[in-house]
Amino acid sequence: MSSVGAAAPAAIAPARAARRPPVRTVYRWELRKLASQKRTYLGYGLAVLLPVIFVVSQLIRGHPPRNADSIFAGQIFESGLATPVLMLTFLAPFFLPLIASLVAGDIVAAEDNNGTLKTILTRSVDRGQVFAAKALAAATYGASAVFLSAAVATGAGIAAWGFHSVRTFSDSVVSASEALLLVFAANAFFLIPLLTLVSIGVLLSTATRNSAAAIVGTLGITLVLAIVAQIPGLEGLHPYLLTQQYFAWQGLLRTPTDWSPILHSLWVCALYAGPALIAGYLVFLRRDVAGG
């Protein structure tokens, strides 16, 4: 069909008093956009698959690992609730940051590549609202991946080894229901450093305008910091490395609860996330939208 407007438009009414929508409207559409993209499910697929593979591999092996360096590794066959803790320990340094980076690094750059940034920025929405909605959507995705992974690990662990009490890092025993609560809380506190990484991803996505560069860059920061943590003589830096904060949640699994790593993690992460978000916002606010 080649015609345009062969059908007469209804008389054009006076200009609509376009209203500035609230950020939650923009945020909701960001989530809908994420839900409509296959790439979104790649990360979720990883979050589901890794715990399942872990549980199946343990079932096949039939016994806990010898010389387990974690108290929870030794309890795999005693309680299904040891599985989500082990999985968080295993996924926290690389896989969960990878999943979060997939969306955080892409969320602004993809609009640049598609040329759709000009489409949304010529409506009634301010740049600050778009940036806030995108940052929130990226954070939501990262958080949902963490809890999805935790839910699968918990479900698979319980299905395989039952809903029983577990021993904490302090060797104290907590009931199954309390352990379940601690698993949830541990994942929630892991979000502090993860969402910090998301902030960095959003900054890189905004500044580089290139999805691949932003995703690799975000993950690269995690890897570089992890390498820095291994360099002898730099031990003094460790408490301030983002990667060290990935394990602050372990303070919850002590009796009594050790809040100091969590509180430390809070302010250290704020030092990373605050400037990243502010810089991303300022770049987004002033940048030329020249593509597409």
């Binding site: 345009v4 008093a17 209203r19 500035r20």
Partner: protein, 330 residues
């Protein structure tokens, strides 16, 4: 809500607009005056700075110097508020390829506060995309995306429609229908700022025009004035062309008398043409036909910019300004 300032203000007013990219000056002190009810042509070859100017007008890129106001509001200062009553697209309209046309429009309506949602069906109907509204935009042809771009603009019920090369990539029938749609929208009171490198398009649609070349406006004003500057010419056929030429050359105010295959051409104002007809009659020369012959936009553009039109009436590439520039920038 009515906005008294916007009601009174000019739809587009640009003053000294400049955009530099390092050493390259893409837009060089451009002034634009789009008035209410105009179908305003922004004409120039590819790379002349048209799209960059429109992007600055829509607040997408920051001017290096100067300012542009839409209904009295500067997008750099007022943000999205400056775009109230304004819609359109620059370069090809872009949409989310993984969403359907309807979902794309729902998204855009939501970004306009949600009130436009009810108008989605009507907008899709206007551009005849209703049967394909549920299909993903990723599978759309270029022409369908252009039409969806118009639908997205209409959702805002604009008073000012900014269209950047809207007919590019359309087949001849699509181009014709796009022009008809623009004329219809203009007839309904929408001011249109139309960027184009297609001379026939601008000639057919626009009442005012800015001609831009190498980032500079070389003419801005009414199409009729532009043509007048090209010289008000006349062409006639008579019963005795030799005698007619002799009489015409003796008349005051009759200039550039010349004969060709179509008859006798000359330049004069209306008053002197009247005197010439009387003189021809008195001299026993019968007038078979006498018609005004305005210079075509194509001729004028060539004289203003030194550009050579392409076979399809389009303009391609940039050339140094000619010595025949009629109106200097600014």
């Amino acid at each position: 809500m009515s906005d008294p300032v916007a009601e009174e203000a000019q739809p587009v007013r640009a003053r000294g607009l400049v955009k530099r990219y390092s050493e390259v000056v893409a837009v060089d002190h451009v002034d634009l005056n789009v008035r209410r009810g105009d179908v305003y042509g922004f004409l120039g070859p590819n790379g002349a700075g048209k799209t960059t100017t429109l992007r600055m007008a829509l607040g997408l890129i920051v001017p290096s110097d100067g300012a542009v106001e839409l209904f009295g509001r500067d997008p750099m200062r007022a943000g999205a508020r400056a775009l109230r009553g304004v819609a359109g697209f620059v370069e090809a309209p872009r949409f989310y390829p993984y969403l359907s046309a309807r979902k794309n429009l729902e998204l855009l309506a939501a970004l306009d506060g949600g009130d436009a949602r009810a108008a989605i069906g009507e907008a899709l109907e206007t551009v005849e995309l209703t049967p394909r509204a549920g299909h993903r935009v990723g599978g759309y042809s270029h022409g369908m995306r252009q039409r969806l771009g118009i639908a997205a603009a209409l959702l805002r019920r604009p008073q000012l429609l900014i269209l950047d090369e809207p007919a590019t990539g359309l087949d001849p029938a699509g181009m014709r229908d796009m022009r008809e749609l623009i004329l219809r929208l203009a007839a309904e009171g929408i001011t249109v700022l139309l960027s184009s490198h297609q001379l026939p398009e601008v000639q057919e649609l626009c009442n005012r025009v800015a001609i831009v070349n190498r980032g500079r406006v070389v003419y801005e004003g009414a199409m009729s004035d532009l043509r007048r500057q090209g010289g008000a010419g006349y062409r006639m056929r008579t019963t005795d062309d030799d005698r007619a030429i002799a009489i015409a050359r003796e008349q005051d105010g009759i200039e550039r008398v010349a004969r060709d295959e179509q008859g006798i051409g000359f330049q004069a104002d209306e008053h002197h043409v009247g005197a010439l007809t009387i003189a021809l009659g008195a001299g026993g020369v019968g007038i078979l036909s006498l018609a005004p012959e305005l210079a075509s936009l194509e001729d004028l553009f060539f004289r203003l910019t030194g550009e050579a039109p392409t076979a399809d009436g389009g303009l391609d590439g940039a050339a140094p300004p000619s010595d025949g520039t009629l109106v200097e920038a600014r």
